[in-house]
């Protein structure tokens, strides 16, 4: 998995150049950008308090990242108290092992979108163990069927036009799906419906984890996360520890800023999950597994985040809410999409890549960033990409040894 520096530079470059040659990518992002800016500006006009709330959220994130370890303990204790099971994975390997043991093999899994699962290649791992895994987010499903990696954190298949979706769905679903978005959405719905019912396990990430109640927030519009986390008998959530927020009250603030800067006045669904489904309706005896899952497992993933939190500059990257707004403002992203990155995208993503995938993968991203700063203008929590890139480049020049043995150069 670890690439040499030369390979990492070459793969990154070739990915960007291939994307550059595919003019549809730039066109699709251009359209998405125009509509993002318009929707956001409408949403902010309707809820003008969001800007000040975003400043407050930055402070909440600063305070949370200061004390990840104590928040983690508090959250794990509360999840246990709620009759859920909480786990802590120090590394990606450990996270895969924990989930692998929970899942076993020959299971059918429906999965909502999760960047953290992408980070640790969880779907591939579970498939290798002999399980069937279905991505249920429409964009992720398209990519799964195409065997491609996401191009944007919120709109992963931003670069695939409806004609291509129709061809793909017709082939996979064994019936003619016309190149019309309404028909495509309904085809995906029909295709997945039975899979939710039959699934042994539902999986998801989380946008926020409230330490004081052990609650997970999953923000969505499609309703796929609601079904994935609600219908199967077992729910497994994979949560990066940077998602920890001290209180439920603060979590609502973080949630509102997250969806607002994702261009929504309000999303269709905010799922708040604090433990397994239960009822006390018969003789007041609490019984688990009523209509929802009988088991709730929460796997907290470190995979470099605690180390990142120790760096005075790079820790900023942990404040990211994953609203995706910055990407629409990045000129390089506008041309090559998610190929400007490796699992995590655009300039500030270089810090994430360094810790979760190693310095070799981070280097080409750090040296591709223009340091133009427009992403910072957009960012609700003002993640300072300019300083992150300077710091990353400084570490690449000098101090790279703190990331472990350098891979041989070519």
């Amino acid at each position: 998995m670890a690439a040499s520096v030369g390979e990492a530079y070459r793969e990154n470059y070739e990915g960007m150049m291939n994307a550059l040659r595919n003019e549809r990518i730039a066109l699709a992002i251009e359209r998405a950008t125009a509509s993002y800016r318009q929707n956001l500006s409408k949403a902010l006009a309707k809820y003008p308090h969001t800007v000040a709330l975003a400043d407050e959220v930055r402070k909440i994130k600063e305070r949370s990242v200061e004390r990840l370890e104590s928040l983690l303990k508090e959250a794990m204790d509360n999840i246990a108290e709620n009759r859920g099971q909480a786990y802590f994975a120090k590394t990606a390997d450990e996270a895969r092992r924990i989930v692998g043991e929970l899942v076993g093999s020959k299971k059918s899994i429906v999965k909502a979108k999760s960047l953290t699962c992408e980070e640790i290649d969880l779907r591939q791992h579970l498939q290798e163990l002999g399980n069937e895994v279905w991505e249920t987010d429409l964009g992720e499903l398209i990519l799964q069927l195409l065997d491609e990696s996401p191009m944007h954190i919120l709109s992963p298949s931003i670069h695939v036009p409806k004609e291509d979706v129709a061809k793909l769905f017709s082939k996979v679903m064994g019936k003619e799906v016309p190149p019309d978005i309404g028909s495509e959405v309904s085809a995906a719905r029909d295709f997945l419906r039975q899979r939710y019912v039959e699934a042994d396990i539902g999986m998801s990430g989380a946008n926020i984890a409230s330490a004081d109640t052990g609650s997970l927030f999953v923000i969505e519009n499609e309703g796929n996360a609601r079904l994935s986390t609600g219908l199967p008998p077992v729910h497994i959530a994979i949560v990066g520890i940077e998602k920890l927020i001290p209180t439920l009250a603060e979590s609502f603030k973080v949630a509102e800023v997250t969806w607002r800067y994702s261009q929504y006045t309000v999303p269709s669904y905010v799922n708040i999950i604090s433990g397994p489904s239960k009822t006390g309706d018969i003789e007041k005896v609490t019984t688990y597994g009523a209509h929802g899952p009988k088991e709730t497992h929460v796997v907290f993933v470190d995979n470099g985040r605690n180390e990142m939190a120790k760096d005075p500059v790079l820790r900023e990257a942990l404040y990211c809410l994953r609203c995706g707004g910055c990407m629409y403002e990045c000129p390089v992203f506008g041309l090559v999409g998610g190929k400007f990155g490796y699992k995590y995208f655009i300039g500030y993503g270089a810090a994430w890549i360094a810790y979760v995938a190693g310095l070799a993968r981070a280097a080409p991203v750090a040296y591709t960033c223009l340091r133009c700063g427009r992403c910072v203008e957009r960012c609700p929590v003002k993640i300072d990409t300019g300083s992150i890139i300077s710091r990353m480049r400084g570490l690449l020049v000098n101090g790279y040894d703190r990331f472990g043995e350098p891979q041989p150069a070519e």
Partner: protein, 332 residues
């Protein structure tokens, strides 16, 4: 220090070598970079300096260099030609005359003249300044940009010592990168750095003289805000204020991507990734053209060069802010 890190793009150590040899990243002699001032009789001593950072003057060399770097592959990183081209590039610092043989006189004249226009406009406005001529050092901004912090600190201290020796109190700067270096970075890297740095536009707006500026023919212009000027230094209004004083000029704003929302021209990765830098510039030229103006102005040597290259042959003319003001002074 050594630059043995395996993670670095290969062109960086070459630039550092050049900086050591001749105080600018391409290793060009100070005499060549100051020839633009010939015949202007600028003082070379004074408390206030015009500081060009050698940037416009270096552009013709950068353009030639980028063509050679393209042969090295992405980030100067791979390709069989790496060693030979790298060796060749190392020689640039020692033997610029041969290495830059393909340099066109036309480019050299054009970019030299831009620095000249800035000096002329300041003079017309009664601003007094001296120029360090062949001793003027590069600011070192590129070293900081690429993460070469120790080299930047060393260079910044060298520049600061020179300013002190020459009793410089104030510099009028024509480059956003140099201005950012003096205002934001030097105070962090040089103990007690107290030279006041003004942008050219600020110096002009502070001048007391009421100079008539008018274009001979009506012209519609738009502005490409350089990222570091408009965002880092928060200086988007100054150039617009000056343009509003130019008669016969109609200003047209680029939709959306103006001022703090300006789009980068792609120049920061011109040396590392020319194949990505070029389409970025082409996109920005399209955005600028969507203003409806036929002429786009900018105030940064690197923006200018990158946008001109992308705009050549197209309908949009890209020129420098200094050029425009100079022509507004000459017209009667």
């Amino acid at each position: 220090m050594d630059l043995k890190s395996p993670y670095l793009p290969k062109v960086l150590p070459i630039m550092v070598d050049n900086m050591r040899r001749s105080s600018n990243p391409l290793g060009i002699s100070g005499g060549k970079l100051s020839s633009w001032a010939d015949g202007l009789d600028l003082a070379n001593k004074g408390e206030t300096l015009l500081y060009t950072g050698c940037e416009y003057q270096l552009i013709p060399y950068v353009l030639t260099l980028v063509d050679q770097i393209k042969k090295m592959g992405p980030f100067g990183y791979e390709g069989g030609a790496l060693v030979s081209v790298a060796t060749g590039l190392r020689k640039l610092g020692l033997d610029a005359a041969t290495a830059f043989a393909s340099l066109t006189a036309k480019d050299e004249d054009y970019y030299n003249n831009i620095t000249r226009t800035y000096a002329k406009v300041l003079r017309k406005h009664g601003v007094e300044f001296a120029y360090l001529s062949e001793e003027e050092p590069y600011s070192g901004a590129l070293l900081y940009e690429f993460g070469l912090m120790e080299e930047f600190a060393e260079h910044a201290n060298k520049v600061s010592r020179l300013f002190k020796e020459r009793k410089v109190r104030k510099v009028i700067v024509t480059s956003p990168h140099a201005l950012e270096a003096f205002r934001v970075l030097y105070p962090k890297f040089v103990q007690g750095f107290d030279v006041e740095a003004l942008h050219f536009t600020e110096a002009l707006l502070r001048s007391k003289e009421n100079v008539r500026m008018a274009l001979r023919d009506p012209l519609e212009v738009t502005l490409h805000d350089p990222c570091h000027l408009a965002r880092t230094l928060d200086m988007a209004e100054e150039p617009r204020e000056i343009l509003s004083r130019v008669k016969n000029l109609t200003f047209k704003e680029v939709p959306y991507s103006n001022k703090r929302w300006t789009t980068c021209c792609g120049a920061p990765i011109e040396i590392l990734l020319p194949s990505l830098s070029e389409p970025l510039a082409a996109r920005r030229v399209q955005e600028l053209a969507s203003s409806g103006a036929g002429t786009a102005l900018t105030l940064c040597a690197f923006c200018l060069a990158n946008l001109r290259k992308a705009g050549s042959g197209g309908a949009l003319k890209v020129i420098d802010f200094g050029e425009l003001l100079d022509s507004a002074l000459e017209a009667k």
